[in-house]
């Protein structure tokens, strides 16, 4: 599946990421999630208000979801190969 982006000079088709790129992305997402987890823990220890914690947890959840989505893309790519 390709999508087109409008760009000066015409539409650009999105490139399919390669397996090394997806692996790299998944690792980056996972690292961010790990960092965010540490951040959330430190906020909890500092007694941060619940509303702010929810936002940080939402970010963490999004990062984990992106990790999973990237791994799913990678698995799909490897299966196709």
């Amino acid at each position: 599946m390709t999508a087109a982006l409008s760009f000066p000079g015409g539409a650009v088709d999105l490139a399919q990421p390669t397996a090394p790129q997806l692996t790299d992305n998944a690792l980056a997402w996972l690292t961010l999630a790990q960092q965010q987890l540490g951040h959330v823990e430190s906020l909890v220890e500092a007694g941060t208000e619940q509303i702010h914690l929810y936002r940080e947890i939402a970010t963490l959840r999004a990062q984990l979801r992106r990790t999973r989505a990237t791994l799913a893309e990678l698995t799909e790519l490897q299966a196709a190969e």
Binding site: F7, P17, A28, L32, I51, Q63
Partner: protein, 517 residues
Amino acid sequence: MTAPILLVDLSAEFWRNYHATKSGPQAYEFTLERLTELVAQYPRMVICCEGKSPKRFAWFPEYKANRPPKPEDAKESLRQIIAELEATPGIPVLTCDGYEADDVIATLCLQATEPVHILSRDKDLYALLSPTVRMLIDDKLVGPAECVAKFGVRPNQIRDFLAIVGDASDNVPGCPGIGAKGAALLLQHFGTLAAIKAAPVRDIEKMPGVGKKTLFSLREWDPALAVKLVTLMLDAPVQISELFPQQESEADMADMTRIQTERKNGPLKIVVYGPEGVGKTRFGAFCNKPIFLCAESGLSAPDLANVPAFPAPETWPDVLAAIEHLKTTEHPYRTLVIDSIVWLADFVRADVRAREKMTAAQYDDYGRGEKFAFDSWVKLASDLDALQAAKGMHVIIIGHSSPEIFQNPQGEDYARFQLALTKKAAERWKQWPDFLLYMSQEIFTKKSKDDKTHKGVVGGHRIYTERTAAFDAKNRINLPAEIEYETEDPWRAFAQAVRETVAPKATEPKPEATAAA
């Protein structure tokens, strides 16, 4: 979308091409060609440019004074690229007065909660490298390991390294007599520039390759200016979450759009209503790239302060003009959230009264005003349909609920919750959407131990998707009748329920395929 965000130092890329070709138009072509290649891999690209009067020039008038003046034709080509990129939807071009592109990139990296790649080869930017922030140099990704291999110091030591060595390209003076090797050795041993300055002479003397001359230079040298000039500023007035907002719910809405596309080829139409304080505004705020059309006080919760919204309309034509604006201009928004339809009803009433020159009593007389008002609602619905057709935007309309007595032909009359509008208008807005959702907090009664008294007990929050005796609701994809949600993010629970409802059906083999097998 899982590809990292790409931050582009446009001037650096352009001038590199210019120095290679010595031609403005050719540099223009090469730069655009490179960006076109990259945007295919990085759909979320941010162009960072130098703003007017960078602060470093005020701190040190000799800053970059060693560079020859730039030719006018090349400057014009650069301006042309910037103008073209600015006109491209979905590609933010950032210029902050007082800040250089590096500072904008550094600020965005600090704010990012997702992987970032930087298109630049500027030494200053090595300070930002981490497992999640990498530089893209000659199609290779450069991370902290490459920084250590190249300079002999870690990214968090780069600032001190550059302060000691100086930056000839920016005309930043370093410590006289100490080169890259010496600076790396000192930083490897002492860790930071402050530690080097504070170290006893005998400790520095023990370092191999540090002669008396170096030692003397170090002691005499005041690093304050160099440190200030090579330190990346992290307070540029930019916000990465505004460039690509609601990244987490994008996947939700993407899934839902796919579902809808499979079924009826169209963006979503949702009307959600319920009592106060059940999270209706949050339902809209956490969907895909929303823009709110609401009263000034509509997004008052502190964590919703950054949700984009039109200036609060004051008349009915303002409301229609806002929708027209979304329909006819390029913008990054994917969902229009109207909060609330009840608030719009006041505008409709005022508009009809002014247009038809009616007093309040005449308006209410035998529902005379309502007949005209209905035309206004029909116009709004048709404008929203046109917006969806033109831009594929989802529309979420938020409403309040009010109890109405339902005349039951088969038994006793009973109260049920309706959209808080006149009957005719409520009927119109119940028919229009694909999803009519009733949000509420479950309330039930509990008997006391002696069985004599009943006590009201508040339960969890629910989104109801099917009509019951107590309220109207509907959906067209067989959602569960009740979806439990947390008030902080009702959208998530709804999107999850939609996915779970539709996903198994999407993978079911078609009857023909089964028969063929």
